[in-house]
Amino acid sequence: MSNVVALDHLFDARRLWRGQPQARPPSRQPTGFPLLDAALPSGGWPEAALSEVLLPLDGIGELTLLWPTLARLTHASGLVALIAPPYLPFPAAWANAGVRLDRLQVVRAEPRDAPWAAEQCLRSAACAAVLCWPQQPDDRTLRRLQLAAEAGQCLGLAMRPASAAAHASPAALRLMLETNPARLRVLKCRGGNPPAQPLSWPLPAGPSPAPIPDSPSEAVPDRA
């Protein structure tokens, strides 16, 4: 028993110190889904950082996940840039989801130029959020996007295929949407351990973050 040393003595002798969990300021970028916010250590999107949404397929709810955030940002007069989206954003649906169309900008770019355009938009601090669809980015490209998001104090959102989950990424937050069953999994979140259990999808929407005068609330589609 002589080997057993009481922790108190070590603390008193200052040979050991207790790591204090640093209280992070809560994020000012809630996702619009209270359950998801609760699962994330900062209570929302990581500010001024790149977040990834991994998708096995298109059309399984990636916009439903982002629309509340985009609606909140555009109603605060922030500019949202879509860099080389894979399809045409259908304005009627985006408006129904509460996104202000006049604060939305679409940038068409070849796959070669898209990372450059995304980096420019992130770094410029002119946009509140930048959505991009990097095609087979290497680690350097993602790191550049992450640094640009930090430099421009901008919310960067990258949609990537689910196969990217196997590789490491410099993104501060990685979410993965799964189908059959539809679930939302947090793969990585800076500042805490990702929750072990996936969230069931679709998530119940939170209270409307901003009054949306143009579209009645029942018109907000609740689709997966």
Binding site: P56, L57, D58, G59, I60, G61, E62, L63, T64, W67, L79, P85, P86, Y87, L88, P89, F90, P91, A92, A93, W94, A95, N96, A97, L101, D102, L104, Q105, V106, V107, R108, A109, E110, D113, W116, A117, E119, Q120, C121, R123, S124, A125, A126, C127, A151, G152, Q153, T179, N180, A182, P216, A219, P221, R223, A224
Partner: protein, 467 residues
Amino acid sequence: MLWACILLPQLALDGVLRRHATPDEPLVLVDGPLQRRMLRAVNAAAKAAGLRAGLPLPTAQAICARFAAVEHDPADTARWHDFLAAWAYRYGAQVSRQMPASLLVEVEASFRLFGQWPRMEAMMREELVALGFRHRIALAPNPWAARALAGVHDGLAITHDAPLRQALGQLPVERAGLPPEAATSLRRMGLRKLAQIYALPRAALARRVGTDTLDQLDRLAGTLATPLDCYQPPDHFQARIEFNYEVGATGQLLFPLRRMTGDLAAYLAGRDGGVQRFVLKLEHERGAATEVPVGLLAPERDPAMLFELARGRLDPVQLAAPVRALQLIARELPPFVPSGRDLFDVRPQQAVPWEQLRERLRARLGDAAVHGLSIHADHRPERAWRDHGDSAEGPPLPRPGWLLPQPIPLRERSPRILAGPERIESGWWDGDVRRDYYVIETAAGQRAWAYCPVGEREGFMLHGWFA
């Protein structure tokens, strides 16, 4: 108005020397017909070896065994003249390169910006030395007098009429820019200095030497104003260096590249612009030139930075063939925004307003690359949007977030229909559309917006995703 004349006595030679790898070795410029080659200009080392301008080439070869002979190229000299005019443009709004081998700059208007003349002159000289051009500078109240005084003095600054008359009076007749035959005949009359000529009665003088001479004398004295052709800076930069040997490795291109980026920076400072994109063209003996584009995050004009960036892009290039000429082309020269900021401004360092960012994106991606979105009042989905203008009222019906640019056949064996049909029938006037739209769930869990011909339930065409 005060005019500075920058006389470039060795413009052609300096233009050659400054991109020569070994300017300290004897070098001469030659011109003239093939059977009678003459030395036109010699550098310091060649002069030390006993060569001088005006010697026939065979004589020069007999005097000195080894020297480099470069063909004199008037077009090349004109290019350097243009380049220096672009450089001088930063010192004054009125720059003229009308007179050969000299630049005239109206500087008085710039004194408040650059400080008084001695300071400005020192700046000019420092930069000209850095650029590698020998020069003489004189200041006078009118351009013609400045040009004539720069021919005999260096560093003379005259700001008032009385000292100007005195200085002009001491000027030798043959240096006053008079027509050569008039100067010769005046000299033969025993008139050596301008003061003697100004003392003569005008009418008699005009009869003897003609009105051209009289006009020039009046211009020198400032009593006759003749407008000068002012220089207009071009809106793009282009420089080319041709090698008289083959360059096999990119490392050997660095010396000319440093000169070129330095010239680009000097040109940009002159027009208060920056460069965000430029192209290095490596020309080969045959075959297409290798193009190396260099792009920057923000417009810049710092020579060291431009060189480092260009070098970074040039290093990994594998040369397919030896390089015969190097060209630098910069077509887009956006305004330069220095990174100086307000003391209490906490904006990120490279922040640019959206307008500027949009221009930057359009410059690289194409004019139509950046657009907005708006709802257009049309029932047909492919026509229900516009890339500009104000939004109309959208339909309160389920619409997918993603629309496919072209409908494609839905590859789904047993589609599960969640909602529909919604019939869209419109456009008899331009492109008739008659479709039944359904919301379909695929086996993989996607929600699709697909249509089929009216009344049928097969042959689904995928038109969007409810994402």
